[in-house]
Symmetry: C2
Subunit: 354 residues, 2 copies
């Protein structure tokens, strides 16, 4: 029996994507070959890569606006490095909203001066700093749109006069934004887009080519763009499953429809967190993430019984990250409202028992 | 109907691996979850990673010899960079036996002086240079064990007094060697080990830690070793399918048995290339690869008819790389002797028609 999967990532993908992804292992598009054994230079796979790159830009409404999409190896952690390699000449501004921002800052420091313009570390990253401004004399501004671990999300992005880079690993394709306000968007696939092993990068080409640094080929966005995201053998299967997921998003109403459903799910669980005296939310209310709801028990002694109850209800992955404790309900695009209702029911059941 | 897949990589994997890999997408080990949606920090996946790392060392007979195995993102192309990042202090020696060696040399030059000790470029990389020696005052010696594009393979490795790094992407697990003669072995998974998207690195730990350079976390072997190959979200599925393939190798007699079967397949096709007046081999006879047999028609006008014939025989991926032309039969571990016989039969059929 399928579990209600609230895992923070890798995470749930649409059931029909799993079905198609499984079939393609046995026989890809009636080719007599598995998707795992076809050449990445075959027409069949070149078509997969091209469709995935185009569809990503289409869903983000970035077509014909000077952007290129790439599917690269390495996860967002590799992008902490690649963004700095390609764009950090002298100094850059970073907003520190949690673990992933902190890691991005650490890597960027190897390439130039890093100005941490604001940080919510003072309150264990439970809010999004808002009072800061970004000077014009820096190479770029970097931020993390959604903080998986702490359950916060940037609702309004600052207006800056320098290129803006955003790590959207945990909320890309989940809500409507003017994506053209960003010059580089990157996202590890393993939340709303596909399995672990591929990373989407959408780059406004005009921000490239300003560096004097020698960039190794695998680190160089221009090389990957020139080679149409096939400089080396790409992570074929992760790209293919990402394409299946992007097709599913499009067929189900695009980002607009995803956002509507995600708001409904988030509303359902946050209402219960606020209503139920046994629970309290972790993140500042105005900064709550629609993707990852973090919450704690008001009485920690109920942990054992609550854990038993949600596991019995066939729920997976509800334990919080060690930095926050308590619980985290990750509600990516593919998670159903019914799954959230199951958790809410268990929370109410716990209240009745108390 | 399944094709006879001679693709150079990504390439054929064992049929039972495809079956297991397909099933795990629907339900991984009766967990009620897909392998694509489980957390990489779950016990189930941590066990996969640990077994894969151990089994790789076991098959290479490198257990308890100071080596660590890692499954990293990025393919061998990333290792061109990582090996230099971690080990090239001042200068290093590279043997240039083809496209992949040349690429490794190009990336290493960003990190220090590179001495190309020998090259077979003078004859379009159709042989392996043998008369060279490696000075003691360099950081390491780098070579490519098998050249997929040109169909050559190093049969005997030089004795060197410096660390030896070997790119074994296209022949790892295919033949018995004293693997402990190497200090770093790396291999993109997508030939004998699994699907594209993961890279095995086996490192003798004692060669690390000699650099003064700041190494970005994702580039740093020590970081990946310390984090047990989970510094960031690993390419979960590619690692899992690699594990399935390693288990298949072990269950089928290990590298020794693979080598026996590979010799038989190589013998079959090379005999036909040498016997059949319509064909000639590309690589120097003593340097012929058991993995990739490269050959050309003696009369190019027969190309159209030969291409039609092997395609009709349900053969896939026999066309040679553009650098060599003609044909390339890639005969990785999972390819059967029967598939090679199909190609040999077509070659003989062409001869009868002539």
């Amino acid at each position: 029996m399928k579990k209600h999967n609230f895992s923070a990532g890798p995470c749930i993908l649409p059931e029909e994507v799993f079905q198609q992804a499984s079939q393609a292992i046995l026989d890809f598009d009636n080719s007599g070959l598995s998707i795992l054994e076809i050449s990445h230079r075959s027409t069949a796979f070149v078509n997969v890569m091209e469709e995935a790159r185009e569809l990503a830009l289409e869903l983000l409404n970035l077509q014909n606006k000077g952007y290129k999409a790439l599917f690269l190896h390495g996860g967002a952690s590799m992008q902490f490095l690649m963004t700095a390699y390609n764009l950090l000449n002298k100094k850059a501004v970073y907003l520190n909203t949690g673990t992933w921002s902190s890691k991005a800052i650490k890597e960027a420091k190897l390439f130039g001066e890093v100005i941490e313009v604001a940080s919510s570390k003072d309150k264990n990253f439970s809010y999004i700093p808002k009072d800061y401004s970004v000077n014009e004399d820096v190479d770029y501004f970097h931020c993390t749109s959604n903080n998986t671990i702490f359950g916060t999300q940037i609702k309004s992005f600052p207006k800056v006069s320098v290129p803006m880079i955003c790590d959207m690993s945990s909320d890309i394709f989940s809500r409507e934004l003017d994506f053209s306000q960003f010059d580089v968007i990157y996202a590890g696939a393993q939340k709303n887009m596909g399995p672990a092993g591929a990373t989407l990068v959408a780059i406004k080409e005009e921000v490239l080519g300003r560096m004097e640094r020698d960039i190794p080929s695998m680190m160089d966005y221009k090389v990957h763009i020139e080679k149409e995201s096939m400089f080396n053998t790409p992570p074929v299967y992760a790209v293919y499953v990402s394409l299946l997921t992007l097709r599913w998003i499009k067929a189900n109403g695009g980002i607009k429809a995803m956002e509507r459903k995600n708001s409904e799910k988030a509303g359902l669980i946050y209402n219960e967190i606020d209503r139920n005296p046994l629970f309290k939310g972790f993140a500042a209310v105005e900064d709550r993430s629609a993707m990852n709801a973090t919450f704690n028990l008001t009485d920690e002694s109920k942990q054992e019984i609550f854990d038993k109850m949600w596991k019995k209800a066939n729920v997976n992955g509800l334990s919080g990250h060690r930095s926050v404790g308590g619980y985290r309900a990750s509600m990516y695009n593919a998670l159903s409202l019914e799954s959230v209702q199951v958790v809410v029911d268990v929370m109410q059941e716990l209240e009745k028992k108390a």
